[in-house]
Amino acid sequence: MTDLDYLKLSKPKKLLYRMGAFFKAIPKKTGHFFANLGKKILRFFKGIGAWFAEVFSTFRDGDWKTRLSYLIMGFGSIARGQWGRGVLFLLFQTVFNVYMFFPDASKSGCFYLAKLSTLGTVETQKINRRTVYGDNSFFILLYGVLTLFFIAAFIYTWYQNIRQNRISEQILKSGHKLKTTKEDVTSLMDEQFHKTLLALPTLGVTVFTILPIIFMILVAFTNFDATHQPPGKLFTWVGWDNFRQLLSTDTESYGGTFRQVLLWTLIWAFFATFLNYFLGMMVAIMINKKGIKLKKVWRTILVMTIAIPQFVSLLYVSKMFAQDGLINAYLMKWGWIQSPIPFWTDPMWARFTVILINVWIGIPYLMLIATGILMNIPADLYESARIDGANAFQMYQKITLPYMLFVTGPYLLTSFTGNINNFNVIFLLSGGKPLSMELSGNAGYTDLLITWLYKMTVNDTNYKLAAVIGILVFVVLAVINLITYNLIPSVKNEEDFQ
């Protein structure tokens, strides 16, 4: 299809065409991906080969200072007068050696590394009435991973130390002088300032974000749960068992419950995002309309829900909707209903109620965002539309909505993601209830994956399955985000409104 043919299509057809094109491209893209993968793997191994070659040739061609640096890191730098660099290398090597070969053998990196494959074998014992704790699988896993990181960092630094020698030799051979320590420090504040700035954040992200993520991913492959709780008990690797349990097609077990909770999570995220979006926009348009009086008052009333912390308002509202709460009491008093509405006890009502209450707390945010954007739409667009005889709905459809979608596309995406993980609203309103005998693992009908995960960790200490759910939530989010990100107008037609 040519560009011209495409432009002739109607809106829904365009969308269909784009979606078709997306799916049509999948095999081709996959093919590409694997072809690229092959190339990348080849390049990776070539890289490793080159690395060894460089390490070897540096040793062969280098002088004795360089060669000694292979054993004592930083020696070459110190011997050539670059004190600062040399001392840092040496310091790193010392710290690494102390960590790996700590005098107290059961706290050394080597110990953790050696035990990593079994996660500990020494059981906790009783000597008379005294308890002697055995291996602690939790620490073995945690420090084992940390040790692997440390070793990788060591290899990298060791390689840098050798490269440093090679470069220094070359510089000296060409008759130039090496940088002094003082010059190094000045350069870190000048042309290498990015390194100075990024050093701390990189370290922080590695230790506090990447390390825990890898730890949690690894937990998904162990049997870490209530009956394997360190330090009293050991846990160990179980391979893909937990994934099998959660993804089994058997409806009676966790598999059925997982699908049910996942489906509800997606339904919830859809309604919580789009219902809020369109209703919020509508409210903003209504308040913006010429001739509406007391605009500020309406806005203030709506914004009040933001001013009160959700912790307070949600807990309060959840009580209001209880069987003996305000809402039921008044409805019955006025004679509108005979018996209380089962807001929290009936699955469908409970789902409806959480979505409804979420609209109440979500509209004000959208109203604020929409108000700002609406005021930004050039008035001449509307004027010319009016002259052409467009009615209000047409103007909304052709001007307001595209403009809003263009500006708020990324917002919609993040808010969809946020709603899939919307812990607060569900936990404070319904706590995932009602439960049912038809669901396993303590899950309820309004549980999102994230609240189910919380229950598993906090109430049931079932860390292994919780870790699997965590991974699957990531997979779901990644897939949805990658697809929709490429479809939203802000990315597709970047220049439309510029």
Partner: protein, 401 residues
């Protein structure tokens, strides 16, 4: 010769030091977690303990508030960081033992513990043949609080519901809780108990829920839940419109406040012709596993003291917790307590709460939620029986394999 002599001397001295050390007591730090209501009381009693036992006078004891449910969860997730002595209700015992978070009771305290406390509470601290904790109270049961001006006859549930309907008030009972639910099932004559081994594992289930009696109990629950006067809940302070509520002694003060002069308490009513039963429950003090013998001895001594007759009685006087100690139970003040005597009357129809798997409680909530969601309203007997069969079968999967 001289060398040998000096060696012997040193050996003797060392022996003396070792034996002296064990009589020396303990001067380190001990951490205690108890419910908020008894923190001050426990602090006082710890001082009394130190006065009575000079060898422990230098011990530092830190008493902090920790809800009984939270205590167990925190102990399980971090034994080493947790308290040395902690209070909990018996439903947590199996979990704690399974996670190695409880030390066995010191052998020298076992005989006294068995002789002085009521048999239900002794059973509640026992897994298999091993005793894991010190019984502290024997009041963790439920009975009926009601408003005399609304409820004319608290002996039948049908009558209570009718009175409530007429007055536009509510009858509260938390039927989606595994704890309150047993009132119906046990009352109708069903059984659900678990046999445990010494490691805290539940190895055998004795259940008769899937029976005629079980269907009768379930039907009674469905009928009660259908009444417009029924409300699901068990906390007086959250019950907005109560004329009667099934609750425990811990809410006695709140109930008195809510019903004022019309406050009354009695055993549970009958429903469909059978008397409601339930659980007799207990609270206890546990000691966590210790890596130091002296500290363990100190913890055992302190826990034994805090659950002794005198302290249990003092605890009743201070905060109203009903004692598990047989002598303390005979005390006049305890006998005269309205709520406690209602509980005592109800306990005659109750089974002491044994060990239950943690998942049982959520399963029971699931069953209760299904009733509240009216899913079983139109079910015939066969369907109800099927539901109960499923309940039993699921319970059976919780057994240790």
């Amino acid at each position: 010769m001289k060398k040998l002599l000096s060696f012997l001397l040193v050996a003797v001295m060392m022996l003396a030091m070792v034996s002296f050390a064990s009589a020396e007591g303990f001067s380190g730090e001990i951490k205690i977690w108890v419910a908020d209501a008894v923190v001050d009381f426990t602090k006082e009693q710890v001082e009394n303990f130190k006065a009575l036992h000079p060898e422990y006078a230098d011990m530092k004891v830190d008493v902090s508030p920790m809800g009984e449910g939270d205590a167990a969860s925190k102990m399980i997730t971090d034994v080493e960081g947790g308290a040395d002595i902690f209070g909990f209700a018996q439903d947590q015992l199996a979990r704690l033992v399974a996670a190695n978070a409880l030390e066995e009771v010191a052998p020298e305290n076992i005989d006294a513990l068995k002789a002085e406390n009521d048999p239900g509470s002794v059973g509640a601290v026992t897994m298999g043949e091993t005793i894991y904790a010190y019984p502290m109270t024997s009041d963790n049961g439920y009975f009926l609080y009601y408003d005399k001006s609304v409820i004319t006859d608290p002996s039948t549930l049908e009558g209570i519901l009718a009175d409530c309907e007429n007055a536009g008030k509510s009858f509260y009972m938390e039927i989606n809780s595994g704890w309150y639910q047993t009132a119906f099932f046990f009352g109708a004559g069903c059984e659900l108990t678990f046999d445990s081994n010494d490691e805290g594992q539940l190895v055998k289930m004795n259940a008769s829920y899937a029976s005629e009696a079980g269907v009768r109990a379930l039907k009674a629950m469905i009928a009660v839940a259908k009444s417009p006067a029924f409300a699901n809940g068990s906390s007086v302070s959250n019950a907005a419109n109560a004329a009667a509520i099934v609750d425990g002694t811990w809410d006695a003060a709140a109930a008195k406040q809510a019903f004022g002069d019309n406050y009354a308490a009695c055993k549970l009513p009958t429903v469909d012709g059978f008397q409601l039963g339930g659980f007799g429950g207990f609270k206890m003090l546990g000691v966590k596993p210790q890596t130091d013998d002296d500290k363990l001895a100190a913890c055992d001594a302190l826990a034994a003291y805090l659950t002794s007759e005198a302290v249990q009685l003092a605890r009743y006087n201070a905060v109203g917790w009903g004692p598990s100690n047989l002598n303390a139970q005979q005390n006049e003040a305890v006998q005269a307590d309205e709520a406690l005597s209602a509980l005592a009357a109800q306990l005659a129809f109750c089974d002491p709460q044994g060990q239950y798997p943690g998942e049982y409680w959520s399963l029971a909530t699931a069953l209760g939620d299904d009733i509240l969601a009216d899913k079983l309203d139109d079910a015939d007997d066969a369907t109800l029986l099927e539901t109960l069969q499923k309940f039993e079968a699921t319970c059976e999967t919780y057994l240790a394999k």
